[in-house]
């Protein structure tokens, strides 16, 4: 009992600390001190990961997170993917490790990248339809509408969990779907992988999936983000005509200031070509996860801008100007 109380207090303290950190970050941003977006993004990613980890310990909060990740993208695009997603952080950390070893990254061929980009819709659809098919094969005992709804949203299949997949805490030693050597692991999407496997394949499939994502993100930057179903669910809404106006956060490019030096194209972790290819104006592609790495690296003042509801919150600077050269 006392331990639980201490635990709760600890949780609240951490949350309060995180809130404070968030406020600090915003203040730094406001003062224009955040010259390196990458660092800022890293802080926010860590904060978000811990926050989501805590939120997930309460079932009610899961629903709130779900609502947030469904509603927020309508106005903020894939900001979530670039700045908040814990799985994204996880891949960024692997990238950091790769950098430390001074190993080069590989680029996917543009065609494959495009294909994967479209493939995520298929992935999402499959995950959404699969529970229905499974429920037909193994029909539930009662066929009331309420039961079906419950099955769909919170039942054993949990198709909407797919959307929360990337947010599953990475390592929770005391609970988790995957047990290896007495240690429990939780890993994005592993739950789904396990659910659709059976018998001895459970561990094997999960391990294969784990290895693939680890190795993949070691060599290819942000490999999962290229076909993440959560990312597609975000993008689908903005494809609808009625929602075209909605994204208030987007990249803007000034054609005349661009010399087409190609830096934006090279530094993009998900290989978005639009920023480079587009002549100017708003850049709207659901491939872009708004990490603003291109804006940070663009060496021409005011060429790339991040607009939030008509206001410029961040823009490319002559990054040689402040003593930034590492």
């Amino acid at each position: 009992m006392i331990m639980q109380l201490i635990g709760e207090i600890l949780k609240l303290t951490v949350l309060a600390g995180l809130a404070l950190a968030g406020v600090l970050v915003i203040l730094i941003w406001k003062k224009g001190l955040a010259t390196k977006v990458t660092y800022l993004r890293f802080i926010i990613q860590v904060v978000a990961m811990v926050a989501i980890f805590y939120l997930f310990t309460y079932p009610v909060w899961q629903l709130i997170v779900l609502v947030v990740i469904l509603v927020m993208p309508i106005v903020l695009g894939r900001f979530f993917c670039g700045w908040l997603c814990p799985f994204g952080l996880y891949m960024d950390v692997i990238t950091l490790i790769r950098k430390a070893f001074k190993i080069r990254y590989r680029n996917l061929p543009d065609k494959l990248n495009k294909f994967l980009h479209n493939f995520r819709y298929v992935l999402l659809l499959v995950f959404l339809i699969l529970p229905f098919i499974l429920s037909l094969i193994d029909p539930p005992s009662t066929l009331e509408v309420g039961t079906l709804m419950a099955l769909l949203f919170a039942g054993p299949f949990e198709p909407l969990r797919i959307l929360l997949g990337p947010m599953i805490s990475l390592i929770v030693p005391w609970e988790g779907p995957l047990e290896i050597c007495g240690l429990y692991f939780s890993y994005p999407y592993v739950q789904e992988v396990i659910y659709y496997s059976s018998g001895i394949f459970v561990t094997i499939n999960a391990l294969i999936f784990l290895a693939l994502t680890v190795v993949g993100s070691f060599f290819v930057r942000r490999v999962w983000c290229r076909f993440c179903p959560t990312g597609s669910s975000i993008a689908i809404l903005n494809r609808l005509r009625g929602f075209k106006w909605a994204p208030v956060l987007h990249l803007n490019k000034d054609e005349e200031k661009c010399t087409k030096c190609g830096i934006c194209k090279r530094v993009c972790p998900v290989q978005v070509n639009e920023v480079y290819e587009k002549k100017g104006g708003r850049i709207m592609t659901s491939m872009c996860m708004l990490c603003f790495r291109c804006v940070e690296m663009c060496p021409y003042e005011d060429c790339l801008k991040v607009n939030l509801g008509g206001k410029t919150v961040f823009k490319s600077r002559n990054w040689l100007e402040p003593s930034e050269v590492e």
Binding site: K99, K102, I103, R104, Y105, D110, E255, E256, K257, C258, T259, K260, C261, G262, I263, R266, V267, Y276, R293, M297, P299, N318, W319, L320, E321, V325, E326
Partner: protein, 442 residues
Amino acid sequence: MKSQSEEKKYMPVISQKEIDELRNVIKATSQRIIAENIERMKKTDTNRPKAMQYFDEIANFGTREKEIRAAKESGKKVIGYMCLFAPIELILAADAIPVRVNSGWYDTSKLGDRVVPVEVCPMVRSTIGAKMIGLSPYLELSDALISALTCDGMTKLGEILSDYKPVWAMVLPRVKDSARSLRLWNEEIKAVKRQIEALTGNKIRQKQLKYAIELTQKATKAFRRLQELRNGSPVIMGRDAMLVNQTYMWDDIQRWTEKTEALCDELEKRARQKIWACPPDTPRVMVTGTPMIWPDNWKLPTLIEEANPQGVLVADELCSSERLLYDPVGVDEWTMNDMLKAIGERYLMASTCSCFTSEDGNEDRINWLLNKVKEWDIQGVIYYVVRGCMLYAIEYTRVKKVLDRLNIPVYYLDTEYTREDVGQMKTRVEAFLEMLTARIDI
């Protein structure tokens, strides 16, 4: 290096006596011209920044020649380049000295006529002439040349100079924004890297290359600072700034950066005290077109800034000045692979050389000009072309159309590598400046 007795592909046989005679005469003229140019620059801006003294010294070819010679004796290699597509970072990383060997001597262009017809670009002819009599110290000292195949003249210049030195040709794709062009160019960069390594005997490693990139990034930083200072009321005459930019082509880059930063510090102080190099309402002129190379080909900037009414050069789009350093190497990750890619992209894709084309033509150059005209508040553009410079001459029509839309007057000035048309050019430049002044009055 090939022996002298070997049959030359292009170069005629000239007696040593004639060579010596010609060299002595032209060298004397060259020294006189350098002194005169500097003198005139001092006269235009009587209160010239003190930091310019260093650049005046280094502009005299002898000073740096001695240094390079000493460095060569201690085992360093010198690698010359003709167009600014040569990856300087790689040369620096291999502990070699990069120098640009294009020649600006008027007199040697006459000598070049012996090898190629007069229709050919005078800069090419002048470089050939300079090589003939061994005038340019940097061309003489370089152990190898990097020749990027940009325009026709440059392509063949490399071939002609290969009579004397190993010349590494770099195939430059003419359409730059396509993946296959970049692939080709990156291969060329890697090939040149191997050649540099073979010549110098130094392997280019991650650490050295990172250091070299940081060195040029710092140079770009200093350079951009200087250009930013030219925006706004003129704190420095255009010729002085052009000289600073130009010396980058042969100076030690680290020292150049330090001196340029010092110059910028001084200029910033002057701007605060409102000490202007010329009256702030002087028409602001930009030059674009064919490169102008120190020391001889300095007549247009001199004419503009000494004219009556006076004009001031606040920007230019010349590969001998602003375009040298405008773009930094943007490295994402400091791995060898990414650094080489970054270098490749910086040289190919960011360049606005008129030899490029694409679906939209040379859109990048147009955008560059438009941006400069708007941001730097340019009142008139002089489009400078030497006879024989096809690519820039052709693009004039498009540039004029675009600038007409902005109501910015453009003046097409064609000339030769000669001093004879200075009087006539003076009339033309002054008429243009007069018109600009009249526009300001309105």
